[in-house]
């Protein structure tokens, strides 16, 4: 059993975690939820020895482990994955997993140098083990690939396989569902269930995906500003008024979802499209080496439209966005305002086509305000810059509070806000958003989507790539569905949402799959 007793973590004056207490019984699944910046990942960092708690004690099977270095804690049987995927890029998938059990391999440095038979035997054993775990998460066919060539969802699975290889009795998962589409989330939930049963594990997970937390966790801890505001079984926590206010930002209402789709989406559709094509891509083809990633993709954006692209991980959505922003070489034509688009990323940006890349990419060594100023490269003078800054601060009061803080010290969700804010600094004509809701708390997701509507109402055209297919389709005028590098459907979000084939294949929704909790997707 893993126990945290009154652990706190202070960074200078900031109390990131305040007297957090938690018990993880054997063979249970425990969830930690809370708004962005609440201190969830800091708790993981303390549990795994990356940070030493400022106060309090962590016990594992009765033994005090706070203050141990990370490798010792791992060897005792606590493994983890990372929110911002940290795979070893210099090695193939198989070796990534093999690394994680080096400490269990019983041969010495000198045995290795002269390559004794026992080295060989041990390596063979380890390869078999590694392949078993890769097979378990479905990555065996990719074992000789480089991890960065895998789509996001598979990289997450590789992190899980790697953590399992340390032979843990407690597994800590930091936002395992981030960046997964709904059907992949269902798969992940099955995987977690299977893990617990087959390997007799306890699992602690940080997650924003409410259906998942509520349906698989035995206990849930809710934290906000480093303090525990509630804990208990999912059903106890779910309708706790304080949790709703701090985290969900919504009422506990099961019929919420359907209402939203039917009413709001029609409201946001513009009455009449001037049918003026603003940005148009015709038969784009992009290859990475020998792999053909985009095949004859044609899309168009009308002025002041919100267009979303949905599809499974690895369908080519991010590639499409990167191509439009000029970051990748391509065959085909892209027209912007009737003129062909320059093939250099800097020139594309100068035209006002600004990308918010997947995974934030803020400058960690600069302050929030400096990051924003970096984004204002299209503004002409001090005054314009000030105005842009104020506009962004108006949209994100949180960034204003933290404007002198280094961007690297922001929480994941705050960095996402900063990345969007930075893109807005130059009043883009076209905003390319790559998974803006990734890693955000439900309350923030709503805000981000409302924000996208606000930005549009100020005259910006928006292309949105999202795993959060429901929300994306709700706010967009049109949606493209991608599969293995091709556009396979196009239409109004609401029509696609009601198309049973699309629902089943790309949203992973079978009717009554979840007893839906009053929560958006």
């Amino acid at each position: 059993m893993l126990e945290a007793i009154n652990i706190s973590k202070r960074f200078g004056g900031l109390v990131a975690v305040d007297r957090f207490t938690m018990q993880v019984p054997d063979n249970s699944i425990v969830g930690i939820i809370g708004p962005n910046g609440a201190g969830k990942t800091t708790i993981f960092n303390m549990l795994t020895g990356v940070y030493r708690p400022s106060e309090g004690e962590i016990r594992f099977n009765g033994r005090v482990i706070s203050g141990f270095p990370p490798h010792q804690i791992t060897r005792l049987g606590i493994a983890r994955t990372f929110q911002n995927i940290r795979l070893f890029q210099g090695m193939n998938v198989l070796n990534n997993v093999r690394v994680a059990c080096g400490f269990r391999q019983q041969y010495s440095f000198f045995d290795a140098l002269v390559h004794l038979p026992k080295v060989w035997a041990s390596e063979r054993q380890i390869v078999a083990d590694a392949e078993k775990y890769l097979d378990f998460v479905g990555l065996l066919p990719y074992k000789l690939k480089n991890p960065d060539s895998l789509p996001y969802g598979l990289q997450r699975k590789l992190e899980i396989a790697r953590a399992l290889m340390t032979n843990p009795s407690v597994l800590l998962l930091d936002e395992p569902a981030a960046g997964l589409n709904p059907s992949e989330v269902v798969e992940l939930m099955n995987l977690i269930h299977k893990l617990r049963k087959m390997m007799n594990l306890s699992i602690v997970l940080i997650e924003h995906h409410m259906e998942m937390v509520m349906s698989i966790c035995n206990y849930v801890w809710v934290i906000n500003f480093g303090k525990t505001i509630a804990y208990g079984t999912p059903s106890e926590v779910q309708c706790n008024p304080e949790v709703l206010r701090a985290y969900m930002g919504e009422e506990c209402n099961t019929e919420m979802e359907d209402k939203k789709i039917s009413t709001k989406s029609s409201v946001y559709l513009p009455e009449k499209n001037p049918s003026m094509t603003f940005l148009e891509a015709k038969s784009l083809n992009v290859s990475y080496g020998k792999i053909h990633v985009l095949r004859d993709v044609s899309i168009h954006l009308d002025k002041n439209e919100i267009v979303s692209i949905i599809g499974a991980n690895g369908a080519g959505k991010s590639t499409l966005i990167n191509t439009l922003s000029g970051a990748l070489p391509y065959r085909g034509t892209i027209l912007f305002n009737g003129k062909s688009l320059p093939r250099r990323a800097s020139k594309v940006a100068a035209l006002g086509i600004i990308q918010v890349p997947e995974g934030r990419r803020v400058f960690p060594g600069l302050t929030v305000e400096e990051n924003l100023i970096m984004g204002g490269f299209l503004t002409h003078n001090e005054r314009e810059l000030k105005a842009s800054l104020n506009r962004v601060y108006g949209l994100f009061p949180r960034l204003h509070e933290r404007r002198y803080q280094l961007a690297g010290t922001l929480s994941g969700g705050e960095q996402q806000m900063l990345a969007i804010g930075r893109a807005l600094m130059s009043n883009p004509k076209v905003l390319l958003l790559d998974e803006p809701s990734l890693g955000l708390a439900p309350i923030m997701i709503n805000e981000i989507f409302e924000l996208i509507l606000t930005v549009r109402s100020e005259g910006t055209t928006i292309l949105l790539v999202e795993q959060n297919a429901h929300e994306a389709m709700r706010i967009s005028d049109r949606t493209y569905v991608m599969q293995t590098g091709e556009i396979i459907a196009e239409g109004r979000g609401i029509d696609l949402l009601n198309d049973p084939v699309i629902r089943q294949a790309y949203l992973g929704i079978k009717e009554n799959d979840f007893a839906c909790i009053g929560e958006n997707k």
Partner: protein, 293 residues
């Protein structure tokens, strides 16, 4: 070109290669940017040479003394510097190599100082050097393919993730640091007993830089690349001798062009293996075997 000249060139190339292998483990695999390799070469050369010339110890014992001392010094330097950030580590190891050189100059009654140490008997032969070099390559291959090699690459790409995978990062770095120190010392000792005369200026920091260039030129992840580039870059200056004063310019130009057009080095992470030799025989293409790595 006479045969002795060619053998001479090859012997120096092999001696360099032994030292380069240490740098490969340290910088290539582990990402520890060290300018200190030449310091260990100096320790190896001087300690073995002094053991033999001043104390009449056998050659083999002299080399052992050199290796033992380099391990001790390596431990001391490692304890002081391995917890530093990589850029500070580079500076600290640079300082270490300079200190070694300064001490050799300072204790001139013992080491011969700037005048150098001469009269070292010729105890290194070409077959011995080639044998040690081949042995070192095999050891390094075994090292790279073991859990130790994987640990190193993991540490290079993400130290935090490596420690969370149960790797004791500090001690693993220490292992590699000592391994490279020993290879440096052996290479220095072989050198001293081949040229019969050594002076502190032979162990300039520029030498360390040359070793580093070799590793980058060949490909950080590729032992094969490291061996081949070491041979090319040791032999090239000799081949370019006809161009006399333009030699250095040509040499550096070749290095710069390679690094510009093949940033991951000549061989990237490609390794020669028995499987791939079979591939060549069947005439299949290069790129596919590349992907297997």
């Amino acid at each position: 070109m006479s045969v002795t000249f060619i053998i001479n060139v090859l012997v120096f190339a092999a001696i360099d290669l032994i030292s380069v292998l240490g740098v490969f483990a340290l910088i290539g695999l582990t990402g520890l940017f060290s300018f200190g390799q030449v310091g260990f070469m100096a320790i190896g050369a001087y300690i073995s040479a002094l053991s033999v010339t001043r104390y009449n110890l056998p050659f083999f014992v002299g080399v052992l003394m050199a290796v033992a001392l380099s391990v001790l010094v390596g431990l001391l330097i490692g304890f002081l510097t391995l917890k530093l950030r990589t850029d500070y580590f580079a500076l600290a190891t640079f300082g270490f190599a300079e200190i070694v050189k300064a001490m050799l100059n300072h204790f001139d009654s013992f080491t011969g100082g700037a005048m150098g140490l001469y009269g070292i008997p010729v105890l290194t032969s070409a077959p011995l050097v080639f044998g040690v070099a081949v042995g070192a390559v095999i050891l390094m291959r075994n090292f790279k393919n073991s859990k130790f090699g994987r640990d190193c690459i993991a540490i290079r790409t993400d130290e935090l993730a490596a420690s969370v995978m149960g790797i004791d990062v500090f001690w693993r770095k220490m292992t590699v640091f000592l391994l490279s120190a020993v290879l440096g010392a052996v290479s220095g000792a072989l050198y001293a007993f081949y040229v019969t005369y050594i002076e502190p200026d032979m162990f300039n920091w520029g030498r360390s830089v040359e070793l580093i260039i070799v590793v980058f030129f060949g490909g950080l992840n590729s032992l094969t690349g490291c061996v081949i580039s070491s041979l090319i870059l040791s032999i090239l200056p000799e081949v370019l001798r006809f161009a006399s004063e333009w030699r250095t310019v040509l040499y550096t130009l070749i290095v710069i062009v390679t690094i510009l057009f093949r940033p991951s080095g000549l061989f990237g992470s490609w390794e020669l293996s028995l499987q791939q030799i079979k591939f060549f025989r069947r005439g299949e293409n290069f790129a596919r075997s590349d992907q297997h790595k």
